[in-house]
């Protein structure tokens, strides 16, 4: 199967050259996925799918176009590429559009280096998938508060092969398996609080199969009776389940497109010590046995470990070849793979649990989930709906919901107080629970 896909890419590159392009990059992605959904202990749905599509970037005499198709019959493909080359030649020339410099590209054995595929998935039958998802549901069925429990087992395997007309030839194989549970329970009046939990891993055998349903139910029960608390300035802790949401805005404005379009609240601060010394975020793209790891990016640029925020200093921008050419900046990669908050100089110098952090702060709001909201990439201003708990004396006092937290990302991170040691392996980015000084909460 993989030889067939390599041949399609090689032949498509030749078709592109035949159609008059100067240079081209092609990437074929082939995936297979299976899922089983269990509703209240009974099979509700089964799904099986396999997909294959070819993605291509064409460079025609200084013109650029990007295309994709899943019609890989050669007659269709040749015609698609011919039309693609023709329309590419009709847009305005852009000299910054080039293939990446060869010496910056990856040239190794990605699949062997990262070991991020469970080859035994091929042998997994539907009965086993049903057993795992049903087992998860059985942990909670019969609970008097339970209205509904939906559990799901899902797994997928993805193969990709990328090549260009300058000699790039890289491939990768990865898989991910996920077991999840969502519970809905009886609340006040017509309210039906819901909550969930999940675990995922590259390898079937490493997915936690016990306790997922029970944890989903417990988190939902804990939220019973949630209501707003008074508006005001509150210290806050953001739980490890959702703390990545505070990192994403920083990363999104450090990429080449945001910088080149002047749509970045961090542009003026690159290289500056903007944040506290304890803020240390690294990209570790070559981490083995991890789904999000990668040896090369979408144009074949080799990844490597990088400090993104180095002890409070903005150390890395994500610059691909195009924006490197446009901005005159060094090319890095198109984005992070596996971000980790690293604590080599944490304020407290000791491992911290969520409970420790509540004790340290004594009083505040623990955010366990966001509900909507957004941020302004030009200014860094944000406003998000939140749910979680009010805590006092280092202990949860009662659940809260229906509140907004509003602020600015620069000031938020400048107020970083503590970082836990509890990053979840199932999250794509390994960001632990984080504590910040006061922010504006709107409630009663």
């Amino acid at each position: 199967m993989r030889e067939e896909e390599r041949k399609i890419v090689a032949d498509a590159l030749q078709m592109a050259l035949d159609a008059g392009v100067d240079a081209a990059r092609m990437c074929i992605e082939a995936s297979g996925e299976n899922s089983v959904t269990i509703l209240d202990g009974n099979v509700d749905g089964i799904m099986s799918a396999s997909s294959r599509a070819l993605y291509m970037q064409l460079f025609v005499d200084g013109h650029y176009g990007s295309f994709s198709t899943n019609r890989l019959d050669y007659a269709d493909l040749r015609e698609f590429i011919r039309k693609a080359a023709e329309s590419t030649s009709m847009v305005v020339k852009d000299p910054c559009r080039t293939l990446p410099r060869r010496e910056l590209c990856y040239a190794g054995d990605s699949a062997g280096e990262l070991e991020q595929c469970d080859l035994s998935l091929d042998q997994m039958g539907i009965d086993e998938r049903i057993r795992l998802a049903k087992g998860c549901a059985e942990e909670v069925l019969g609970h008097p508060k339970l209205i509904s429990v939906e559990t799901e087992w899902g797994d997928s395997t993805e193969y990709e092969y990328m090549a260009d007309t300058e000699g790039l030839s890289v491939s990768n194989l990865r898989s991910v398996c996920t077991l999840s549970a969502n519970c809905t329970i009886r609340g006040r009046g017509d309210e039906k609080p819901e909550g969930g939990w999940f675990d995922s891993d590259v390898f079937t055998g490493k997915v936690q199969t016990e306790g997922i349903g029970a944890k989903a139910l417990q988190r939902t029960l804990d939220s019973l009776g949630a209501r707003k608390t008074r508006s005001g300035e509150w210290p806050l802790i953001v739980e490890n389940t959702c703390s990545s949401q505070l990192v994403h805005p920083l990363i999104s404005v450090l990429n080449g497109a945001a910088l080149q379009q002047d749509n970045s609240f961090l542009k003026a601060h690159i290289g500056e010590q903007l944040f506290p010394e304890a803020m240390n975020i690294w990209d570790r793209p070559r981490t083995r046995n991890n789904y999000g790891s990668r040896c090369y990016d979408d144009e074949g640029l080799a990844t490597r470990d990088r400090a993104v925020i180095d002890h409070g200093r903005i150390a890395t921008c994500f610059i691909n070849t195009y924006y490197g050419n446009k901005l005159g900046m060094d090319v890095t990669v198109d984005g992070p793979s596996l971000l980790r908050f690293e604590k080599d100089c944490d304020i407290t110098k000791k491992p911290l649990t969520l409970q420790d952090m509540m004790k340290e702060l004594d009083k505040g709001i623990l955010i366990t989930g966001f509900n909507g909201g957004n941020f302004n990439p030009s200014t860094g201003d944000f406003s998000y709906g939140v749910r979680g708990f009010l805590f006092e004396g280092g202990r949860k006092v009662r659940p809260v919901n229906g509140m907004n937290v509003t602020g600015n990302f620069i000031r938020l991170w400048q107020g970083l107080l503590l970082a836990g040691d509890d990053a979840l392996k199932s999250n794509r980015w390994r960001i632990p629970s984080l504590a910040f000084s006061g922010l504006s909460f709107s409630g009663e």
């Binding site: 019609r71 509900n371 998000y384 509003t406 504006s440």
Partner: protein, 472 residues
């Protein structure tokens, strides 16, 4: 047209009937086969020039089998009979019941009205003309608003060709166009930056790209962008909120629309699950979900289960009158499907989804509503929303609006989240203006799958919502 679609997907009526027999071979009660071929073309302007083109082609077929509300689903990106048979047999596996010999029904065309005829094809509006239209838009934006530093603009058109057949014999072909323009302007003034986005999207052809559309975009940006530099955040907390007409329809989408989708109710997890036939808000309020608005982004000639497009009254004069159904939920509730069975593509099974959701006119003016508020906010420009179905808590993010002080609009506000509870917010609507407008932005709903929708509303006053803001 039908013959062309058979050619496009490389199958015959006999093939469809053979596949249906396979799909029902394990005792399935219902099955359908959904073929799709979607092409999308997009031009991108950046730094004053159209310097990038993108095209995609997506092709395949999905086969669904239902037994006792359970669903088996599989799809294939190839439509030769060997691959389709394999998909049919996998989906058939959801059932495991005694099987009597079945024959597939003959093809019976579904009758429907075409709500999105293409008046001018894209072959007429050539790539050169498209480039010129966007480039002129960019020039006029810079001319009208000197604070603009950067403009990015995407002009996209797509054609989705669909062919469908089910175990009742229902058969249809549909051609679904979509033309969209989306732009983002970044501005700088006195060392500060701001950004503002704008979009329009319709199920039409290239007739969308008129001078008046371009004039409207330029006017909108010129009017809205610069005040953002002076805008701030209000003091946060509970307060009256006047929602301006048009895009405030996001309130309906998030606050009640999702909670009315019958899959959530069938599972008993919606906050409105036991409220059918009950009065849930003021009799001034009637809310519909409509697939029949000509050329609208949410329009559907036929849904993805073969049910003709229709207009569904969800709330009639304050009373909950209908959920939004697909075939599974309609059967569960013993009612007719409402034409809301939609899917992102052949890769997904259909589920209940909104189309164009809007509130009908009330009886006062927007000025009346603003004048009635001593201290609150007026909002009319939104970017995104979200809802927790069970609790009913919904949010939407306000890009811009105004403070209301003593019945007058005073200082501009921006970048605040508003949060409320669906049933409570509906009950708290105390005034509805007679100015209902459907908003034609590129609204895309992300409930498990992405589907184009639209929303609209007259201006309304909600007596209390929780508004994000400063604590000072």
């Amino acid at each position: 047209m039908t013959e062309t679609y058979f050619d496009l997907f490389g199958v015959t009526p006999d093939n469809l009937e053979r596949l249906m027999v396979s799909a029902l071979s394990r005792g399935g009660e219902y099955a359908d086969i959904f073929f799709e071929y979607t092409t999308t073309d997009e031009l991108l302007l950046r730094d004053h020039v159209v310097n990038s083109v993108e095209s995609t082609a997506d092709y395949g077929a999905g086969i669904r089998v239902i037994r006792d509300e359970r669903t088996g689903y599989a799809f294939s990106e190839k439509t030769d009979m060997r691959d389709l048979e394999k998909a049919a047999l996998f989906a058939a596996g959801i059932a495991d019941a005694p099987v009597l010999p079945r024959t597939a029904p003959g093809l019976r065309p579904v009758q429907f009205t075409n709500h999105y005829p293409i008046l001018q094809g894209w072959d007429v509006f050539t790539l050169e003309k498209r480039k010129a239209w966007i480039t002129e838009l960019d020039r006029r934006l810079h001319e009208a608003s000197p604070v603009i530093r950067k403009v990015t603009c995407a002009l996209a058109f797509s054609i989705k060709k669909v062919m469908f057949y089910n175990s009742d014999g229902d058969f249809f072909c549909d051609l679904r166009p979509m033309t969209s323009v989306h732009l983002t302007c970044v501005a700088q003034k006195d060392g500060k930056s701001e950004m503002l986005s704008y979009s329009r999207s319709y199920r039409v052809g290239s007739e969308m790209l008129t001078d008046s559309l371009r004039d409207g975009i330029v006017s909108y940006i010129a009017t809205r962008l610069e005040p953002l530099f002076d805008a701030g955040r209000p003091k946060g907390g509970e307060m009256p909120v006047v929602l301006g007409s048009g895009s405030s329809g996001i309130l309906l989408h998030e606050a009640i629309g999702h909670a009315f989708e019958a899959d959530f109710n069938r599972k008993g997890i919606s906050i409105f699950a036991e409220r059918m036939g009950q009065k849930i808000c003021s009799e001034k309020i009637t809310v519909v979900d409509d697939g029949t608005v000509a050329g609208n982004r949410g329009a559907l000639n036929v849904d993805d289960e073969g049910i003709p497009g229709q207009k569904t009254y969800m709330v009639t004069e304050g009373v909950l009158t209908s959920y939004l159904h697909d075939r599974i939920s309609a059967r569960h509730y013993g009612v007719a499907p409402t034409g809301n069975g939609r899917r992102e593509s052949f890769r997904y099974e259909p589920i209940p989804r909104m189309r164009a959701t809007y509130m009908l006119d009330g009886d006062c003016t927007e000025e009346d509503l603003i004048h009635s508020v001593r201290k609150g906010i007026f909002v009319d420009n939104f970017t995104n929303g979200e809802v927790a179905i069970g609790e009913g808590d919904f949010t939407f993010y306000v890009k811009s609006g105004w403070m209301i002080e003593n019945g007058r609009l005073t200082a501009p506000v921006k970048d605040i989240n508003i949060i409320g509870n669906g049933p409570q917010a509906l009950a708290d609507i105390t005034g509805v203006a007679a100015n209902s407008v459907l908003d034609d932005s590129t609204w895309t709903c992300g409930k498990d799958q992405y589907c184009p929708v639209s929303c609209g509303m007259p201006s309304v006053l909600v007596s209390s919502l929780t508004v994000g803001g400063s604590s000072l």
